[in-house]
Symmetry: C2
Subunit: 248 residues, 2 copies
């Protein structure tokens, strides 16, 4: 027989689908691709001009809010470093974050003054944060993903949190698994936590030699206990599964 | 052989794909579906609260612009009917329409006054228009699709125009084909034009009896000429194709 997809000959044992199902599947694929094109067009339409984009003229942008970053470590004299600020629109922040919404729709200090102080964040990270709120896009590296996930959690921007967590999960490796595990715990990042924990359990033999392990025992021994508990559960389950397959 | 998709038996002549291609296609479908989910989440994130939505409190919405509809037919005394107005944000209008962008970023009357008059449109249509600019969504009927397509063309909101045109194209039938053909001509709606023209050509026998045909001959005979030209081209092509298949 000849495969209608790859055009190569195959034996009866290597048969996949009948003609009808092959045609249906091709149609489905075409439909899904068309749907993707439609959705992409919608996204392009909904994306706003970012006020931190070079091409955007802030003078004419009618922003009605300033975000001030407060990064103690970067400032020599004061704990609060007010300049430069990132301009934004109330309407956008209200749409994107329930925390900003509560802040700006109720008569709070931030709403009256038109200024929001964002603590423990650098100017660059704040710019990327605002850019994402307007465009749903940002080019991540591992540090930026960490920083933005923390901000996203604080301001309940779920979509950004999921975006960063997905990126970080794809970057988990033996060297950073313990750090990512602890980070995921602190910030309720379940998907990242599972990926990191799984990798840690795959390398239990060398766990206790690692510097980050020793640090974690010092800082937060409960998290270490959870690693051992998960490992134990896995061992028990594996043993039970083995027993099951060995049964006559 | 057994089809891995529908689980039914089939003969050699009805073979579709080999096993490998079947598995690849299944994976591709899963990937496309995941991509669709991601895109939908992005759209949900990017969608803004609409200022014409009942759930939206305009008092706290920080809108900085009013759209005034001017529908002469609805107003008994004056040609311009200023009330009620639809509130909006400059930033959103600038992002969605190059016409609004030019209007609001240059020191034009509309930018200074914070008021934009939208002519020849009812209050309801204007509300739907603004709603779409914020959410990329609107529930269309045929009249609304016409009205919004006209507005979308005027303000160069391409995505809305395509949205309305797609809807109208799906609604073309024998009764409205001539009207839709003329409408599509006036508003450069190529897809709609082709669909309407194709249906008109499929029913040439009854064309000249139709009331809308007679009206079109009166109003815009050039459009009628174009119908006949297209019909002639189609006849010539069909004849040529027939000749080709009849050749030995």
């Amino acid at each position: 027989m000849w495969c209608q997809s790859c055009r190569e000959e195959y034996e009866e044992g290597d048969a996949g689908t009948c003609k009808e199902c092959y045609e249906e599947a091709s149609e489905t694929e075409e439909e899904l691709k068309r749907e993707i094109e439609d959705l992409k067009a919608k996204i392009a339409f909904l994306r706003l001009c970012s006020p931190v984009d070079g091409a955007y003229s802030v003078s004419s942008s009618s922003t009605d809010l300033l975000l001030l970053h407060a990064a103690p470590l970067e400032c020599s004299s004061a704990a609060f470093c007010p300049s430069p600020a990132v301009p934004a629109h109330r309407a956008v922040l209200i749409s994107r974050s329930p925390v900003f919404k509560a802040m700006l729709e109720n008569e709070m200090e931030e709403s009256r003054s038109g200024m929001i102080k964002i603590h423990d964040v650098s100017y660059d990270v704040l710019r990327y944060f605002v850019h994402f709120l307007y465009t749903a896009e940002v080019l991540l590296d591992e540090q930026l993903a960490c920083d933005l996930l923390v901000l996203a959690e604080k301001y309940q921007v779920k979509h950004l949190k999921a975006f960063c967590e997905k990126f970080m999960t794809s970057k988990v490796n033996n060297d950073n698994a313990i750090a990512h595990y602890a980070f995921a715990h602190r910030h309720n990042a379940k998907q990242l936590l599972e990926a990191a924990l799984s990798l840690i359990m795959d390398n239990m033999a060398t766990l206790t030699e690692r510097e980050e392990y020793k640090e974690l025992v010092e800082k937060d021994p409960r998290l270490v206990v959870e690693i051992y508990e998960a490992y134990l559960t896995r061992q028990v389950n594996t043993a039970a599964a083995k027993d099951l397959t060995l049964q006559p």
